[in-house]
Amino acid sequence: MEKILFLAHTQPDGTLPKVALEAASAASDLAKKISGSDLIVAVIGKNAKAAVKQFGSLAAEKFLTVSGNEFETSRYSSDVVALEAIARQAAATFVMAPTTSRFSRVLPGVCQRLEGRIDTHVSGMDVKGEQLTIQRWYYRQRMMATLSRRTRPWFLVVDSGVFEALQGTAKEVAVEEVKVSLPQDIQRTKVTGYESAASGGAETIRPDAEILLVAGAGWTKKQSDGQVHIKEAGELILNFITKNQASLGSSKSLVDQSSEGQEVLSFMTHLNQVGQTGSTPRHAKGLSTCCHGEEPHVVGWRFINDRRAINLDPNCGWAQGKADVLYVADAFEVMAKINKLQANKSLV
């Protein structure tokens, strides 16, 4: 009989990340599809007992928590001990968890301790008979594999935006606290805080945003007047993403300019980069501006449903065939008009 353990963690502010609710519904679906299986829900965090109520609507055999100040922030050495204890107590054969920075760091280590196997970035699941098959991408989103494993426990770390988030109101549940002790020798690391990657602290990365704006190196090149307009470009981009609560992506060539000593957009960092050595975010819509390469249009856009591009080159080989609409225009002009129209709503 399969024991499906669903894992979640609280964030530093005590809330649960949205992707945890998505992974919870995936775990619940899996438990319904594998006959005779049990679902076990577990949460770690400073006040995990309060957070676990969010999963009260799930038909779980039991609810486990590891609570305490030591589990408020994300630290490998304490998280690995807590999650190993939970997985052992649950006697889990499947372990399902959301893709977060905290779980991405620690779950491979937990899996190793349990001599299990792990697949991350799970982007689809199907059950035929009693066999679970999953889908995940290889070679940086260039090909997709469908696979299964017999070894247990099998850890499945689920990507965001793949499954519907769990619906249902919070509900009181009977909670078992798993006892975890942390000897001093595994507390050599102290989390001291958080810093914005961008200078000035501008918030430009919003994983849950509806739209992704991708900026390419063209923003920093000479424009039709023979001059570069970095300051204006920065204002246009920031204005757009603030007004539309959009997330900001970048081509590699744009973020690489900082290490090459060129004038750059101060809020743009390598964390914004999409593509082979960046992220492949999931958003409903994507608008690329001043991009001329494969990276933003193919790999970086893999999980963008509705894609448009503003580009001066009507024959751009990467925009054609990858974007749904290609506007042949000057992105400076178009973005300025968009910002102006949005500022004066009566014109929209």
Binding site: S74, S77, T100, S101, R105, P108, C111, Q112, R117, I118, T120, H121, Y138, Y139, R140, Q141, R142, M143, A145, T146, L147, S148, R149, R188, T189, K190, V191, Y194, E195, S196, A197, E203, T204, I205, R206, P207, S259, H270, T277, K285, L287, E294, V298, R302, D306, R308, I310, A319, G321, K322, D324, V325, L326, Y327, V328, A329, V334, K337, I338, L341
Partner: protein
């Protein structure tokens, strides 16, 4: 008293990102079409880890860098021609498949075994470096699994900055959600650091470093041990390249304001 770090970097080759990749079925499972012929590069994030390692070693006297690579030794030999001039390191080769379709569990086991056999490696001074994800499997799991096998319980993923403080502690910036860094202080080695981009550009070629590296590289490649990867426990039902072609509507020769209105309608829709 011994000083400096013993930095082991795990990294291998991946197909050049500019190559078109096509999956095929081989007797051992999925593979890439003409895999042996595809031009290769050092896995990008592992490359960043190597350059950060070399920089750290240079600024901390008594440090040493090893590069542990699991891949087909003939292809690794070609790869070394391009990276040997970038940074000083001693090469350790494990001969086996660098395919993304091999099981991460088996790769971690083989790499941990190779690291355990490195002569003169002081595990109390060990910093285990690697990329935060490969450009082949893209799983972000192998470094943590190697760390566990080596008994290292201070681990960091998506590192962009490491500062060695005067008291011996390590100040580390790791990528977390929302464009932020989680800042941590670790008491010191041993630790696992899986690097993201870091802060350093690719170093220029240095022929002197290349000549020094090549003295140990050829013997290292010749005495490479087979990885001994066990049969994978993964059953692949299929591997496919997704349909990429979209019917692009090209909008041109209309004023910027009209385009702006069209985009705004689209955003609202």
């Amino acid at each position: 008293m011994t000083t400096g770090y013993h930095i082991v970097v795990c990294g291998t080759l991946v197909p050049d990102p500019l190559q078109t990749l096509e999956p095929v079925q081989s007797p051992a499972g999925p593979a890439l079409k003409n895999e042996a012929m595809l031009p290769s590069v050092l896995d990008p994030w592992a490359g960043h880890a190597l350059y950060e390692a070399a920089h750290l070693a240079k600024s901390n006297q008594g440090s040493k860098v090893w590069l542990v690579s699991l891949g087909p030794k003939a292809k690794l030999q070609q790869l070394m021609m391009t990276i040997a001039q970038k940074a000083p390191f001693e090469l350790v080769v494990v001969d086996g498949s660098a395919s993304g379709f091999t099981d991460s569990y088996e790769i971690a086991k083989a790499l941990a075994g190779a690291i355990e056999k490195i002569q003169g490696l002081d595990r109390s001074r060990l910093l285990l470096f690697g990329g935060c994800a490969s450009a082949s499997r893209d799983a972000s799991v192998i470094m943590q699994m190697i760390g566990e096998r080596l008994g290292i319980h201070d681990q960091f993923l998506g590192v962009d900055e490491l500062k060695a403080e005067t008291d011996g502690s390590l100040k580390i910036a790791e990528r977390v959600e929302g464009g932020k860094y989680q800042m941590s202080v670790c008491a010191g080695p041993p630790a696992v650091l899986a690097w993201a981009t870091g802060n350093l550009p690719e170093p220029p070629n240095n022929p002197q470093i290349g000549m020094a590296n090549m003295r140990n590289m050829m013997p290292a490649i010749q005495k490479a041990q087979p990885a001994g990867l066990a049969a994978s426990t993964i059953q692949y039902a299929g591997v496919e390249v997704p349909k990429q072609q979209r019917q692009t509507r090209i909008v041109k020769d209309i004023p910027a304001e009209e385009i702006a209105k069209d985009i705004l309608n689209w955003l609202k829709g």
